[in-house]
């Protein structure tokens, strides 16, 4: 990552917005399409003003039909454009599943490289915003099993910019996940000018030697808070922000585990069959004798979704206290 000063302070919405803006400026092949991305400027105002500047041919308000949003973007990509499709909320991506899994992810493969599909699908996911059953889901585990797709889920403004730039320039389809709770909550320094962060590289956001915590999305921020609290108790915890979910960064995880000899995986998505399952399985296969404790997963409960009522949402979400408590247990194990 070639990060040069100077930087600018931004929140996550601004980071997405600035990156899209620069991509649109830089390359006329870039097209943004989705529901309400035009005059409305996206429901989170990420593309606000874009239609005025780039015109309705490049900032395309689509009909209400997700399968075609992705499917048409696939066709654009096959024909040489660089579409950035938006699914308004990740919960609405299910109707586009066929186009993502059956088509975008298989275009290069089935044509043996004759056609490619350089496509980005952006979508806000995750809870903590009172989004109830259909505006809160995590979707990464429904897609990370799919060869041909890439998935990134950065949650710091600088990572968002670097990874979204990489995603847009990637020659293959990338699912770009934005945790909506972090949109305005998380602020940080973002280098000005164009730079990329390679897809597939995790980032050690905090170094430590007693426990490795692997997370992504909103929970990275809470995990960092929890680790900071435990520092006071003399505990040294390493926090890895996965950032990329497919491909995932084996090296960074294994290197950390060989140092800390303990692993905790934390994610908001349901536990059963979630991302943590693959991480734990990989570690159980490749670093079995490096571990001094069972691999723990602290994840969302295995229920269909968080409810609208505050107590239901709170019960679903993992608190920083819970994270700290589990970390403490593991350090002491």
């Amino acid at each position: 990552m070639a990060v040069a000063a100077p930087t600018q302070t931004m929140n996550n919405v601004e980071a997405v917005r600035a990156t899209l803006y620069e991509a649109l400026k830089a390359d006329p092949r870039t097209i943004v399409l989705g529901e309400d991305v035009g005059a409305r400027g996206n429901v989170f105002l990420i593309t606000k003003g874009f239609i005025e500047e780039f015109g309705p041919e490049r900032i395309v308000d689509t009909p209400l039909a997700e399968a075609s949003i992705v499917g048409i973007a696939v066709g654009m990509a096959m024909e040489g454009l660089r579409p950035i499709a938006e699914i308004q909320f990740a919960d609405f991506i299910y109707p586009a599943f066929n186009q993502i899994v059956g088509e975008a992810a298989k275009t290069r493969y089935r044509s043996n490289g004759d056609y490619t599909c350089p496509l980005v699908i952006r979508t806000p996911y995750g809870g903590g915003v009172r989004g109830a059953l259909s505006h809160s889901v995590s979707i990464e585990a429904l897609f990370y099993h799919v060869p041909g797709l890439k998935i990134v889920a950065p949650s710091f403004p600088a990572d968002i910019k670097g990874l979204l730039t990489s995603a847009i320039e990637d020659p293959d389809p990338v699912l770009f996940l934005e945790h909506k709770r972090t949109y305005r909550l998380v602020k940080g320094e973002v280098p000005t000018g164009r730079y990329t962060i390679p897809i597939g590289k995790a980032d050690v956001k905090r170094a430590g030697d007693q426990l490795t915590v692997v997370s992504y999305g909103l929970y990275v921020h809470q995990a960092l808070d929890a680790a900071a609290r435990l520092e006071g108790d003399g505990m040294s915890i390493e926090v890895i922000d996965l950032r990329s979910i497919r491909p995932m960064d084996k090296g960074t995880i294994l290197e950390s585990i060989r140092k800390t000899r303990k692993l905790l995986i934390v994610h908001e998505d349901n536990k059963f069959g979630g991302i943590g399952a693959e991480i734990a399985a990989m570690v159980a296969e490749e670093a079995f004798f490096d571990l001094d404790a069972p691999i723990r997963r602290l994840c969302g409960p295995d229920v269909p979704a968080m409810g609208y009522a505050a107590p239901l949402e709170e019960e679903f979400m993992i608190s920083t206290e819970q994270m700290a408590e589990t970390m403490r247990e593991l350090v002491r194990f």
Binding site: E35, D61, L133, V303, A309
Partner: protein, 340 residues
């Protein structure tokens, strides 16, 4: 556009005065509840509300056409008036807004996603058009069981007709001539997307031709016309005539939801231009002109409705949230652990 009403010899399609007053009351109840939602949201008491201002005529008319205890409603998320009109207690609307434990979804669903098997009202998700195939499945069951006194009323917006699942639903219902009425509440907008960016046709009913079913346009601001149109379509459905696509024209006067700000995509003038389509004053005028209500009568209705809404607001607000442990129930019948 709506027919001019000049004398008491208006077409009431056999509905008696009480029924007409009931319809007006339903429209006021809906509007008052909507206002209450926006108000509670502004007060920070609830995180979210949806309004249906402009849709009241459709809801009041369709509700009367609906045969209680027989028909099944598969509502859209904007159908609070219709849900109330077929028998839902207004308290339910507030329980849903406040996400209380006594809400029928246990405080799980977003406001306006009602359910009640008891009154024949299907539970829908927020995924646009995903409820349409369910409606068709219900209609299939009715036909299969030869329940010829029953039909399904399936509602959705103009935007929903762009979804593939909508298309597949109507097609299947047409092939099997199922007892179902597809009621499109065309309010010209899907959040910020106007009709002309949603479809290349002037009227949603033009889509009926592709399925081989009749399509009928009705003025949504006229609850009586809606009643007649939906009733005819339901009767036709029940008597084996198959599905009908009804397009009720209306206008969405408010922002999409409390999370939306429609000033970003449409002018105040455009909204005002449509003000004559507001069903509430229109229906009030009609009933006054026909001598069915008086100004005082309307004031009385409003007062009474407000009192009722206040009362259910207070009652709902006083009720408890669901317990956190409720998160884990009703995943499956019985245990829900994936590792047994």
């Amino acid at each position: 556009m709506a027919k001019a009403i000049e004398s008491p010899s208006f077409e009431r399609y056999g509905l008696d005065d009480d029924r007409l007053r009931w319809m007006l009351r339903n429209m006021h109840l809906q509007r008052t509840l909507d206002n209450r939602g926006f108000q509670l949201n502004r007060q920070g008491k609830i995180p979210f509300a949806t309004g249906s201002e402009g849709h009241e005529g459709i809801h009041a008319g369709a509700a009367v056409a609906f045969s209680r205890g027989k028909d099944v409603l598969v509502p859209y998320y904007r159908d609070i008036g219709l849900c109330l009109g077929i028998g839902m207690d207004p308290l339910e609307a507030l329980l849903s807004m406040f996400a209380r434990g006594a809400d029928r979804s246990g405080g799980r669903q977003f406001p306006n996603h009602f359910t009640s098997k008891a009154i024949g009202m299907l539970s829908i998700s927020s995924i646009i058009a995903a409820h349409c195939p369910h409606a068709v499945g219900v209609a299939y069951a009715m036909k299969y069981r030869k329940e010829t006194d029953r039909a399904v009323l399936c509602c959705f917006g103009d935007g929903a007709t762009s979804e593939g699942e909508w298309h597949e639903s109507v097609n299947f219902a047409a092939v099997h001539r199922l007892p179902i009425v597809f009621l499109c509440e065309n309010n010209e907008w899907a959040i910020s997307t106007p009709r002309e960016r949603q479809m290349a046709i002037a009227d949603v009913v033009q889509k009926a031709a592709g399925y081989g079913i009749p399509g009928v346009i009705v003025e949504g601001a006229d609850p009586l016309a809606v009643y007649k149109t939906v009733k005819d379509a339901l009767d036709r459905a029940r008597s084996g005539g198959g599905p009908t696509l009804v397009e009720a024209k209306c206008y969405r006067f408010l922002s999409h939801t409390t999370d939306d700000d429609d000033r970003t995509y449409r002018s105040r003038e455009e909204i005002e231009k449509h003000r004559h389509l507001d069903p509430v004053p229109r229906f009030e005028r009609l009933l006054i002109e026909c001598g069915i209500v008086t100004d005082e009568g309307i004031a009385e209705i409003k007062k009474e409705v407000l009192a009722q809404v206040n009362e259910v607001t207070d009652r709902a607000e006083a009720m408890p949230f669901p317990a956190p442990q409720e998160l884990y129930t009703n995943v499956y019948e019985g245990t829900h652990e994936p590792w047994l």
